[in-house]
Amino acid sequence: MGVKRLSQGGLVDRSAPLNFTWDGQRLQGLTGDSLASALLANEQWVLGRSFKYHRPRGVMSAGVEESGALLTVGEGDRKDPNVRATTQPLFDGLVASGQNAWPNVRYDVGAINSLFSPFYAAGFYYKTFMGLPPFEWGKGTWLWMQYEKLIRKAAGMGTLSRAPDPDHYDHAHLFCDVLVVGGGVAGLTAATQLAAQGVDVVLCEQDVLLGGDLLNQPNSTVQIEALTAAARDSGVRLMANTTVFGLYDHGVAGALERLPETASPAAHQVRQIFWTIRAQHTVVATGALERSYAFGNNDRPRVLTANAGRAYLNRYALRLGESVVISGNNDGIYGTAFDLAKAGADVALYDVRAKLPGQLVKDAEDAGVRVRSQSAVCNVAGHVARAVEIGTVQGDGFAIERKRACDLVLASGGWSPVIHLLAHRGAKPIWHADLCCFVVESTQEAISVCGSAAAYWQTEDCIRSAEAIVPNVLASLSGESFAGYRVGSGGHEAEMTPLYEAKVCSRKLKAFVDPQHDVSASDVRLAHREGFVSVEHLKRYTTLGMSNDGGKMGNVIGLALMADALGKDIPDVGTTRFRPPYTSVALGALSARSVGKHFRPLRRTALHDWNLRHGATMTEAGLWQRPWYFAREGETITEAYIREATTVRKTVGLCDVTSLGKIAVQGPDAAEFLNRIYINGFAKLAVGKARYGIMLRDDGFVMDDGTTWRLGEEDFFMTTTTAHAAKVMVWLEELLQLRWPELKVHVASVSDQWAGVAVAGPQSRAVLEAVLAEPDVVSDEALPFMGVVETTLKSGVQVRIARISFSGERAFEIYCGSGYAEHMMEGLWAAAEPLDGCLYGLEALGALRIEKGHVTGAELDGRVTLEDAGFAKMASTKKPYVGNVLRQRPAMQREGRPQLVGILPKDRSGKFNAGAILCKPDQISGHGEGWITAVTHSPVMGHWIGLGYITGGAEAWQQKAAVAADPLRLGNVEVEIVSPHMYDPSGEKMRG
């Protein structure tokens, strides 16, 4: 019964039927249908269940404001919950199902909640569930959490798939002179006229079709086509199916384009594109949304907004009812009545106004509509509407006059201009009592508004308003100030009468303000009674406007009811601030290509592939991956790194150190510059020498360390830690550009230019000699410890070498242009392998440096002073340097600060962990005396060792036992505290 697809008219293609499935039923719709219209065409009225009471809900609108027909589209890993059926285009093979109901939306066990609705008033959960009922006995959170489990299961809406979203999304950038938001008459007109003036215009329309409300009007195809053609011909870039969801600072808009969907997307098919649009000027032509009003059971299926009835009729060729009741307070409802009557429906129209628009009434009555003034629908009967109670105006409420059977109820409480995007910009909406809506009159920014977004209700007025802003936009583009943008006015033929609620004396009706969240008129009144009178309190207490539609329908009604309760006018209650996004946006679209392995870039050294080919297991180091260890067959990580470290101490090892930060520091003042940023002196560093340096932050804590090589009088090569490379570079630029602009120094990152290998071990020199064109340059005399040389490989490839050691052995770092890295490494490896050398990774590197007591990021954690880390003696007293003042602050110089130490297990066969807390044996609680930063199984010592910090340093603990407390993992382990320099403390090996 009821719904009839007309045999002609509408924007559906009757020759192209589409099959789809709803809750297991195979149904058919037409090309051009929305999922909602297709479901309605199949007489599917109950499509969802409400949030709290599980009341049956159906289609309530024909657009983005929908809060009834929320359902799940797709299956498996493409399951898409909470989809508005009204904006989902139908496609062949679409699968939709109901949600928030069991066993299904038509027979939902959860509907039992409705029986308890008297107890579920706004905020009821703040008042109970704390403890044992009835008086909330108990303590703690345990009972609440039991209740909460049930509440959480009942709440929520759709269910998300647990599998990764398999679809592709793009993020794209777009630039234009003017962005027009909205492809109705106003938007199209403004866009066309601007483009005709040579302006680069992009127009975004959220609907799949351009035309705006014309789409809902009869016989408008020709007009829409003419408008669209004009826009296209004048050069407007038209983007349909694209929602501008937010306006941000400086003319930036976020938009979401939905590409046509199919049941089984092709391999590289993109589902949606997230656009970041920058426009010099934005035209908001976003139209208006019709709102309903609060009346009894106004949430029942078969109750829609008036214009939705018209949209389904004219756009989708669906007459939704045979016996239609229309109720409202504005001229807009007459078109709906007229069109439905012409389509053969029996239509009764109740206009709450006393003074009716004469011509419209006459037209409607001529078409067979029965029109009654000063009356409105007050209540709906039926699980799915089958009758209404009509009331007539009496005082500030209504008196029920009669009941009327019907199969469709269309209601209108007026129109709300879509000012969301303007609200995102912080614009203040102004209440227009005569238009019964909020209008934004100005912002400080390059934004104009036209059409019904500026509260023009008639098509002609919309066009005129669009024409009127064109000079303003042009002025704005040329940098001139421009006038406020709402020009003139255009309303209804007959004045509107406010209609927010149909109150009936002595009747308690379940009248919804925000249907999706089940916020009713009585909830608003309860909030008022309890003092939640500020509009933001009202929203938060009742959750009004927090639902998926973001308050598009309910906010104004809620405000009006609160104003009524307070005896104030609407503007005195306040306005609500709409937050972005205008309509919800999938996280997948916002993430676009940055998913999975592409979440963040992977930085590869020039030896990345070479290392992998030679058996490296990689580990993450910031954005880099670095070799962790090179396991031989059957080796565990521990066996591998112990072998590697042992090999370095015995013969020689090669390690990719390319990830170290490398900065060229050049210019006449380079030495002076380095002298200021390092704690130790660099001014007198000889050409051909390297020096280890420490940098402090302004606040005197250690920032970074590394070696800097003097290649020439005005030419330095600085290395930084891998972790701080970018930070140090920015810091040097800041100093040179902001603080010391007088210094003639250029810095340039050469991290990508140079690939580096550490060649470490007693045989390291032999390995270098084997690859160099002039082997003598690395002799002990030519290249003593901390010496630097620039030379060539036998192949002629240029390299630079410094004799520096992180391992404590005789060692070199050799760098070449990255493109030659594999070539250089091949040579080195060919020389090292026969010497029983090895490749080593970060784990062995760690073992070697811990034995030696060298610090890394684990020790230099940003809270460490020079004294703590044992560098105080390095600090120059002859020159000032960054951080030297604030490092003298008393708490940083106080006695007994934790200092760097070595740590050994008392029982040498024992193990302990980094992250353990060092405690006195008799006081294993509280903050302890220190902590362990790094541990390794020392190949040299044959047992576990560690580095860490402890109060007073090694001296203070010479004869004292300590305990490494690791309650999370190993428990308590007795340890000895020793000097951090556990291997070759005199440095003979690395100098020798």
Partner: protein, 422 residues
């Protein structure tokens, strides 16, 4: 005051909800109070409540320029935890967590504190050891509610984490089991209702317009609702602290106001049971699911100073990337709303609860990201400070002098750069 309990809910259900009163009065300002707390946010309201309840201060006003709970109280991601490790911070937040556990009962207001666990993922052995230090300290200084989960345990507890295809492989997580989330608005209203019942005047729409003072003390606050004199004044205005401080003629503070965004998706059936936190590759991200079903998440500051309560698009994108990075299935969840709050970022990331250069002025500020979880202890210790005019040993370090002495409380080791803290 009608007590909140199931009995009264039932009774009122039958009586058409007619038995509920205003949850707090709307009094006219008096001309003088013993203590005026400026700022009707969580910390201000909590302070007033504890002053009235445990320090027997009788004439207390909370002055709020807008409506209570309208600032960061309603703009956070509702996470409560105490996983700090520096002396002072650790004890402070642990005290707070302990108070949170009883808060609903204390206030007779269900603040819905749900101890659903706080799970910090780590991605490298080094990160595991760094976090182990912190969580070991937590064990040694308090409850046994911390654990290190290996990958298997993690997968068992959070099955749809990305353990297959992640750019940064997940190795495990550090977990605080007593941590969780609470209903932020309820906390403000609960404190307001309870304070009001003890006679505290909550003065909304009452903006401090100027501050009259002599050399050593504040005399009068001129507000939009008239002049108010106070024996003692406490500032608890978060992002607006510097402005008020300057109104009092006190110069500069080690604070900058930055904005932090928060995000919520459309409601979904239960998906994430814990608070999950993630920080790697320059990203910083946290997510949980509200009782209503929305995924509530957030990330970093917008990176520049701002007093505007609106955020920008790149962070929207950034946090969405983080969300899908660890939970690839949320790609089809939809962002419903995002908003931002103004954070009073301090130079070391730790707060101030301290005396000031003026004898009757007390400061509560510098909460960075951490203000919500701190609410209980902040109110508790601030009330104690105001009532007794000396800091409790736990908050002795949270003073303004620490930057002069170098005794900074830098949990992140980021140094004196507010935008790097939180």
């Amino acid at each position: 005051m009608t007590r909140f309990n199931a009995w009264n809910v039932l009774k009122n259900g039958l009586l058409g909800q007619s038995g509920w009163d205003r949850q707090w009065r709307d009094p006219e300002p008096k001309s003088a109070y013993d203590v005026v707390i400026v700022g009707g946010g969580l910390h201000g309201l909590a302070t007033a409540y504890y002053l009235a309840k445990y320090h027997q201060v009788r004439r207390i006003a909370v002055v709020e320029k807008g409506w209570i709970g309208g600032g960061n109280a309603g703009r956070n991601t509702t996470i409560v935890r105490s996983n700090y490790f520096l002396p002072g911070n650790r004890e402070f937040y642990e005290k707070s967590l302990t108070m949170w556990e009883q808060l609903s009962h204390e206030l007779n207001y269900n603040v819905m504190f749900s101890q659903r666990s706080h799970v910090s993922l780590f991605h490298s052995p080094g990160a595991r050891d760094a976090v182990a230090r912190r969580y070991n300290i937590m064990r040694l200084t308090g409850n046994d509610d911390t654990e290190l989960w290996d990958l298997e345990t993690l997968k068992r507890n959070i099955p749809h984490l990305n353990t297959e295809d992640a750019r940064f492989p997940i190795l495990g997580a550090a977990v605080q089991k007593r941590a969780g989330t609470a209903r932020h608005d309820a906390v403000a209203w609960g404190y307001a209702r309870a304070a009001d019942a003890l006679g505290v005047d909550i003065l909304q729409n009452c903006e401090v317009q100027s501050i009259e003072r002599d050399e050593n003390s504040i005399q009068t606050l001129t507000t939009s609702r008239g002049a108010i004199t106070a024996k003692k004044v406490g500032f608890a205005v978060a992002g607006n602290t510097s402005l008020l401080w300057q109104q009092a003629g006190l110069g500069q503070l080690p604070i900058e106001s930055h904005k932090l965004q928060a995000f919520v998706t459309e409601p979904l059936k239960p998906l994430i049971d814990q608070v999950v936190v993630y920080g790697v590759g320059g990203a910083h991200f946290y997510i949980s699911q509200s009782d209503k079903g929305g995924l509530v998440y957030g990330g970093d500051l917008d990176w520049y100073k701002s007093y505007a309560q609106r955020g920008n698009l790149h962070i929207v994108q950034d946090v969405a990337e983080c969300a899908t990075a660890i939970f690839p299935c949320v790609g089809r969840a939809r962002l419903l709303r995002h908003w931002s709050g103004i954070q009073d970022m301090s130079m070391d990331g730790s707060p101030f609860i301290c005396k000031t250069p003026l004898s009757n002025l007390y400061l509560n500020a510098g909460w960075n990201y951490g203000g919500f979880k701190a609410t209980c202890a902040s109110g508790w210790y601030f009330a104690d400070l105001i009532a007794n005019d000396r800091p409790d040993p736990v908050i002795e370090g949270h003073n303004l002098q620490r930057f002069e002495t170098g005794a900074v409380l830098d949990e992140r080791g980021a140094g004196a750069d507010c935008k790097l803290h939180g």
